[in-house]
């Protein structure tokens, strides 16, 4: 079984990265480009859903787009913070539900980060708790 490479990141409304993490690190640049490009689709989906989404509270955007090797999933919080997750296409163990729960976990952890009074919203996330949560999620997926 191929080793899945989930690139994983958090992005704010202004579209600069708050947190980016990927394994393995060699192809980090590729993931950066990929996530950056995926923001197009996230934006498109957010604007397409418009107000309907706000009522439904459906934050999960689903598969943003597939590429040959990866699947890119999106999630957007109520405050329009975007989460993008890139997983290896061949990792068939990851169904929609798993992705969804991973995003929810990510969101919870992000909320914790925001609750930190010393965290300045909009700064890069350097929380160790968040970091270890992401690490554990990546390990689990691999």
């Amino acid at each position: 079984m191929a080793v899945p490479l989930p690139g994983d990141k958090t992005v704010v409304a202004q579209n600069y990265p708050l947190y980016i993490r990927s394994v393995p690190t060699e192809s980090e640049l590729k993931f950066h480009y990929m996530v950056h490009t995926s923001l197009d689709v996230v934006d498109e989906k957010i604007s397409a859903m418009g107000k309907a989404l706000v009522d439904q509270r459906e934050l999960y955007l689903g598969l943003l787009y597939p590429t040959e090797d990866y699947k890119v999933y999106g999630y957007v919080t109520n405050s329009k913070v975007k989460f993008v997750m890139v997983v290896d296409s061949s990792n068939t163990a990851l169904r929609d539900n798993e992705i969804r729960s991973m995003f929810r976990k990510l969101h919870n952890s992000y909320t914790d980060v925001m609750c930190n009074p010393f965290y300045n919203p909009g700064d890069r996330i350097q929380s160790r708790a968040f970091d270890s949560m992401v690490t554990s999620m990546m390990v689990q997926v691999c």
Partner: protein
Amino acid sequence: MEWRRSYGRAPKMIHLESNFVQFKEELLPKEGNKALLTFPFLHIYWTECCDTEVYKATVKDDLTKWQNVLKSHSSVDWLIVVVENDAKKKNKTNILPRTSIVDKIRNDFCNKQSDRCVVLSDPLKDSSRTQESWNAFLTKLRTLLLMSFTKNLGKFEDDMRTLREKRTEPGWSFCEYFMVQEELAFVFEMLQQFEDALVQYDELDALFSQYVVNFGAGDGANWLTFFCQPVKSWNGLILRKPIDMEKRELIQRQEATLLDLRSYLFSRQCTLLLFLQRPWEVAQRALELLHSCVQELELLDVSVPPGALDCWVFLSCLEVLQRIEGCCDRVQIDSNIAHTVGLWSYATEKLKSLGYLCGLVSEKGPNSEDLNRTVDLLAGLGAERPETANTAQSPYKKLKEALSSVEAFEKHYLDLSHATIEMYTSIGRIRSAKFVGKDLAEFYMRKKSPQKAEVYLQGALKNYLAEGWALPVTHTRKQLAECQKRLGQIENYLQTSSLLASDCHLTEEERESFCREILSFAGRQTDSPGHKIVLPLHSFAHLRDLRFTPPNAVVHVGGVLSVEITVCSQMPVPVQVEQIAIHVHFSIEKNNYRKTAEWLTKHRAAGGLVSFPTEAAPCPAPQSSLPALELCEMFERSPSDNSLNTTGIICKNVHMLLRRQESGAALEASTGVALEDGAHVLKCTSVTLEPGANTITFRTQAREPGTYTLRQLCASLGPVCFVLPHIHPPVQYDVYSQEPQLRVEPLADSLLAGIPQKVKFTVTTGHYTVKNGDSLQLSNIEAMLILCHAENRAVIYSNTREKASDAALRVQSSDKVTSISLPAAPAYHMIEFELEVLSLPSAPAAGGESAVLGTTEPHWKHRDTQKASHSMATTDHRVSIDCPWSIYSTVIALTFSMPFRTTHSLLSAGTRKYVQVCVQNLSELDFHLSDSNLVAAGDSSDLRLVPLHTDSQQHVRSEQAAFFVWELKWTREPPPPLHGQFSVGFSPASEQRLSVSLKPYTYEFQVDNFFTLYSVTAEISPPPGAELCKTGALCSLEVTITRLADLLEVDKDEALTESAEYFSTKLMYEVVDNSSNWAVCGKSSGVVSMPVCARATHRVHMEVMPLFAGYLPLPDVRLFKYLPHHSAHSSQLDADSWIENDGLSVDKHVDEQLDSSSIRSRGSGHSAASSEHKGLPMPRLQALPPGQVFNCSAGTQVLVVPSKDDHVLEVSVT
């Protein structure tokens, strides 16, 4: 017709087509038939027989035989049609309907299903009956046909499911099952149930995908290995034919490869989707299919020649796109770019990788290996399909052409890329467009046309910068640097290089190499020596802080100012900078007043350190520049009852926060840095900037006064200049020029007269240099001495209040001038020294008014009217000083305060007189008083002053007083007025030894008319018969006024009247008891005419009543001189009016006497008031001088016993 189906599926209108064929036994389906459509569904037997005989003879047999055949094939779907003809019927009119042929047939064959026999009457005639029978027939036919169809379909589906359930069995073949389910799909398609048909294909698709996934998981099915054969053909999808029979046959023969199967499956899905008018789904599914195919091939470990898949994907993408274009109009396509753009970009990507693979992108063109590979790839395409052979733009042709030559490839690749970028841009996917643009740029770079690449790289870089993506920024910059290098854009290249050299995301080696690029360029000699390359500094280094010495950044003309800057170099290696310069803007400040060191020091924050905010980090986070939210609470209360209406939070700086973000243009816009040319530059040459913080010190000598604002920081490396265009926050230093100045101020709060006091002289040299021999010339004033000591020293301070040197001070005094020779001092220094001055108490009757003023008490009037005040009397001394730097003399005013205030008073005892002098110390020092002396001035030889106080030294503490008393004795009566001059020596108690002898303090005063003229005696006697006075009982008060002297000079005033024998004067007496001990009964005052001669006595009796018991002091008796209103008018008065007015006026006076002492003013007030009384003049009262009246009974007391009648004893305790 309506089709109802089992399992609750919704009824649908379907169109069922049927063929009519002649009955053949061979056509009947055999047992185990898998086909669904190729056999007869409904069997119809037609007969025209109308004759019973004929029927019985032939038709019946025939029918039976037919039925048997059908039964043997277990077919239950049949219909018998009897065609009736009118013509034949007429012949047999007698035949009963019951026994008609139809009935017979029904009886014979349709024992239960009577509807299986239909009569068709006169089919060729046009009558209503015919019509009716046709209708009935057709309805029946349809119903039965559908019934049969449904039955067969159901059976088929069941069979199919059974087959599918067997898939785990070893011999199961996917291809066989595929064919079966496709049959079903075909049927649905035929029925125009495309949805259902599509479902069949989707099911097949999912089944296959699942198997592949399972295979990947290790659960391989045998039949799948068949699909794992190497890919030999990659001719893409074929979507133009509804059914690709070629591929279908391959599948049927179980020879299809994975790609074949996928292609066929997708072509079918595509066809159906297009039937369903869902072309966008085609695009979307196509992308998914292509991705999954690529993955499946990998998963199944199928060997694929390199590039083959790319070819396949490319062809397929184009095929899908063309197919979609073929069935939609332009508008539709344009509005659905979002669906197709993915395919476009995928095709672009694939073509790009093909190009790289086949060596079509390199500059030299493909080599032989590349060509071989190309040939192989083209071979795998096979021949072009006949259906596209005629289209000029077929994917096949495109690919073939693109691979055929470098130029063709470029053309196609550019076409595709541009189309993709355009599409992405048009749907707002800017980031994706930039990404494709970057690929394109890479291509251009390979093709050695960097000028075209630059645009795309810049665009992408701008986007990444604006959104703060550090890694892409670095990567794109690296590409851009390469591009700019090729383009020869030296400036831009160096700038990018400097940015990269400071980029923390690059490795150390890369950074160093970029840094070396800059250095090597800087080291190179340029052709045009004047040409400079100006680059922004922020990438190279950043200014962290700046410190001035002196810290207040104020320096005098000619002074030295040093500026120390801390620069953080961001280069990975030490950089030798030829010169670092700060360009300074000079402005002359108009206001000269502000140009003094004092002012500038006061108005400048001390410390001298200016910190600069760290500039945007290499990975800029644009939000950090946003201001923080300023929130405040808001309560809105209703005006009527003050209840809370609304509450909320207001963001005060919304306008700042919600401002539209500028599209990152400012971030890289700093390229256009202009190098300011200014005359004022601070320079520092040959500086090595180590990585990290470096401290550089600039020194400058101030020349012109004014304000210098630091504008630019510029680091030069040969022809390369790194410029910080604006130093913000603004930093400036001031150069001032100051006039020399002399200031004289007392050391203490105030100067005291009479004792030596220290005064500090401060000479601020300003621009003047004090030479040896320069001196200050002080014009002497007699009243103020400048005390010269040998040990006077001057201290010279530098401008920053640091002690520079110490020099002796020579003070020379002559009659008029005191000359202080200053020590030599450089400009902008301060000379400070102290001198002792002594303000002399006044020299009597000498000197100008100014000199006398205040050193002595002013000449007192005999009437002591000085207001009691605790402030010291002061005197000003003006000293004019000639300074060597100016032709004008400076006038300095020094104010001295008298430490003492002196009062005197006259005391009497009968006719003996005493003078008391009170010296009050107002200062904060303690003094010793000594040598007190009082002399009578002038021709007062008749007067003798006998001191009654101790002669020794007296000590007066701060805020206390000393008293001196002398008895006045005279030899001649009456004694002349006394002009006393009091003098007392004083010295500060703290100082034991004084260098100078101090002048005594003097006080002059005058005492007039102190000779006693009248003595007043008051006596209270108890009522007759009583021993003691009792409260409430009337006692008699006897006042005796005795004249002690004969007519004297002082008596000669208006009150004096001359009669025949003697002179007399009018006196008014008044008995007042201020302490309310006595009640005066009857007249308390009166006017007496007093003869002016010695021992003349006047007695007045009065009744008084004591109000309290005890020893009571006697009531006061006051004497006044009673002056007639005016001597000039006295003759006009008659006696009556006089007396009348008198009583009135005196009563008034008595009342008012209690609260007023100024009799004279009172009298004049009366005269003014009385002018209303027919202009009658009022008499005046004049108090006698204190020395002229002696009250003998002052202080005596009389015992009053309480009345025995009193039931209440009042005891007052005081």
